[in-house]
């Protein structure tokens, strides 16, 4: 396979995540399987409640998993870890949240907000080094050292999201899990934040897991995309391939539903209602099959022939 030469940063293997509402268990993520490679942006796309944030939080160890394994390089990171290993994970995997306001401590100065991780893990020799790191982080997101004494509420949404990014970047992580980082921002500011994230990818070889509900944004940003519905990852493919040849019917309906800013396209489109596939209803009998190179679809044995025919028709 073509992937052999790429370094795997995160491996999510047969992961189930179960929540308990009272006594009744609710499986929010069902048998998830994917890998995130070094230097790539991996998009995870689905509607609210589909389980995308839940997976992201499991990778940074905020959610427990009820089955399977999560690996960061050579270290298995689900379950109990030594203090040293926990620090190692936190340093290397950072998260950026959707709502820049809610993710910052309103009563702390920008200086403190950005330094928090450094303080928690004593990641600086002396005060001089801390200040230098904060200034560098601020500078890298286009904010000024003089902003340090200010408070989050004195900033616009776009600026607060930059503070959130600076706060993650100062830890010099290898992977950033970005959970809808631009959804709460105005159209004209979204582009600024996306450009900034891309800059870090190019300059520092940073990898991203980009969680979003809007496929059109992910297309530009991600190298590969996984589509999730009701806790099932139904399709994974390189971004261009997914848009050109969507194979799973849910991916189809999601692509149709996202409004494209082009009146000629929009006024002529029809939308089909998605009906759950057999694989989604019987996820214990389904698996992700590589139906085209690097293009995976969740299917049961029964459905296989149908997908194979569809895939063959594309060639």
């Amino acid at each position: 396979m073509a992937n052999n030469d790429r370094e795997v940063l995160v491996k999510v293997k047969n992961v189930d995540i179960t929540f308990f509402n009272g006594k009744r268990p609710f499986k929010a993520v069902k048998n998830a399987n994917f890998e995130i490679y070094k230097g790539e942006t991996f998009g995870l796309v689905g509607e609210s409640g589909s389980g995308k944030t839940t997976i992201g939080r499991a990778i940074i160890r905020l959610n427990q998993i009820s089955g399977g394994e999560i690996w960061y390089k050579d270290l298995r990171i689900d379950g109990k870890l030594s203090k040293k290993d926990r620090q190692y994970v936190v340093r290397n995997i950072q998260m950026i949240f959707q709502d820049p306001a809610a993710s910052l401590n309103e009563r702390a100065t920008i200086d403190y907000c950005i330094s928090e991780g450094l303080y928690n893990f004593h990641l600086y020799k002396d005060e001089e080094e801390r200040v230098r790191k904060v200034d560098e982080a601020l500078n890298s997101v286009g904010l000024l050292p003089e902003h340090k004494s200010r408070y989050p509420h004195e900033f616009s949404g776009g600026q607060r999201q930059r503070v959130g990014i600076a706060r993650a970047m100062i830890m010099e992580p290898e992977l950033i899990i970005a959970d809808e980082p631009i959804s709460a921002l105005d159209v004209s500011i979204r582009a600024q934040v996306l450009n900034l994230m891309n800059k870090f990818k190019e300059e520092r070889g940073l990898s991203y897991m980009f969680i979003a509900h809007d496929l059109s944004v992910v297309r530009y940003f991600a190298d590969r995309i996984a589509v999730i519905h009701n806790g099932n990852i139904v399709e994974i493919a390189p971004s261009v391939e997914l848009f050109r040849n969507p194979l799973h019917p849910y991916t189809h309906s999601l692509l149709q539903a996202v409004p494209i800013p082009d009146p000629q396209i929009e006024k002529n489109k029809t939308i089909q209602q998605y009906v759950e596939t057999e694989a989604e209803q019987n996820y214990d009998k389904a698996e992700l099959v590589e139906i085209l190179p690097e293009h995976f679809v969740l299917m049961t044995e029964n459905e296989r022939e149908g997908y194979e025919r569809k895939a063959a028709a594309l060639k």
């Binding site: 004209s188 582009a191 530009y220 999601l254 149709q256 409004p259 800013p261 002529n268 489109k269």
Partner: protein, 355 residues
């Protein structure tokens, strides 16, 4: 067909808010005619005045706000002559109804859905409670609630976000308004639900014969719903045209900026276009073209004198000095000249996904 009757006409509207001891000018001299049966989309970034502008049509400005100048003509009268809340009741909800982003703000959490719909029918159409209930159930079915008889007695919290928005639409339609204002009605919803609600509003507009004013910052939604588009910036409409005019032949640098920064136009490995800077403070007096400090095309005059309206065609105008015959000729950015080509490239089968 296609008679262009003006249903609502706004003339020189100015709105100010008192904020402690300062005054903020939210709307700066807008004039616009709304054409009957059209869907007009109002777009612009946060704070540009989209909501304030349309709130003046139903007398719903916050207490500290005031229309300081201008007229709003509707059914032969100037709505600015209405001085009492009682006077507004004839218009608000009855002739001009509004659907907001968060359905919970329009629903009473401790009343059943059925009660809330039939209450409006009884009040506005002078019907008995029997008749009102019958019509309410019919309306619930019409907006896509399954088993409306059974769900009639349920409370708002028992419905999903998308279903609640359907109920709000049913309530808005209960008195057969002439104009339906939709203020970001689907922003809080998932894309597949959004697509259903948009479709519903379009179908109902035909069936119930109302004119739609659709506020959104999502240009994809605009492309889907709009016949005409008004682009707002810092309290003014800076460009107005048919949806084709605005997407394929826009003239104002701000419209160019908005379109260029669409992530969908982004090419792998290329930087996305981003509008620099931030919108001006509405507390200060704005001189010239409000967008000039952020524009890559501004000329000396843009900082000195407010541009007038320049007409490009019967359906299309823009407020930018670039349209003055004396201005140098400039081309819009490449990305938006090839917008349609790029969008088609985004999708399989020439823009259509399907089997």
């Amino acid at each position: 067909m296609a008679e262009n009757n003006v249903i609502l006409s706004v003339k020189d509207l100015e709105v100010k808010f008192k904020v402690r001891d300062r005054v903020l000018t939210a709307i700066r001299n807008i004039s616009l005619d709304f054409i009957e049966h059209q869907v007009v989309a109002i777009v612009g970034e946060s704070g540009s005045g989209k909501s304030v502008f349309t709130k003046t049509f139903t007398g719903m400005l916050d207490m500290n706000g005031e229309v300081t100048h201008g007229e709003i003509w509707f059914e032969g009268r100037n709505l600015m002559d209405i001085k009492t809340d009682k006077g507004w009741e004839e218009i608000r909800g009855r002739k001009i109804a509004t659907v907001f982003q968060d359905p919970m703000t329009s629903l009473n959490p401790v009343r059943t859905i059925g009660y809330q719909i039939s209450e409006v029918i009884m009040k506005h159409q002078k019907k008995s409670s029997e008749e009102a209930k019958k019509e309410a159930i019919e309306l619930m079915g019409r907006v896509g609630i399954q088993n409306p008889e059974q769900r009639y007695d349920e409370y708002p919290f028992m419905f999903s976000g998308g279903m609640r928005q359907r109920i709000v639409i049913a309530i808005a339609l209960a008195c057969h308004p002439k104009i339906l204002i939709c203020d970001e009605p689907t922003t809080a919803l998932d894309v597949t639900i959004q697509a259903q609600i948009i479709r519903l509003i379009k179908d109902l507009a035909k069936e119930y014969d109302f004119t739609t004013i659709y506020i959104t910052h999502d240009l994809g939604v605009v492309a889907n719903v709009a016949d005409a588009v008004a682009v707002m910036y810092a309290g003014q409409i800076i460009e107005y045209g048919s949806v084709e005019d605005v997407f394929y032949d826009s003239r104002h640098p701000y419209t160019w900026g908005l379109l260029s920064s669409l992530p969908q136009l982004g090419m792998k490995g290329e930087k996305l276009f981003a509008i620099r800077g931030t919108p001006p403070s509405l507390f200060e007096e704005i001189k010239g073209d409000a967008f000039a400090p952020r524009s890559e095309y501004s000329m000396k005059i843009d900082f000195e004198k407010e541009p007038p309206i320049f007409r490009i065609s019967d359906t299309h105008w823009a407020k930018t000095w670039l349209l003055d015959p004396r201005a140098p000729k400039v081309e819009p950015p490449e990305a938006i000249r090839s917008l349609h080509q790029r969008m088609i490239g985004l999708t399989s089968k020439g823009g259509v996904y399907g089997e």
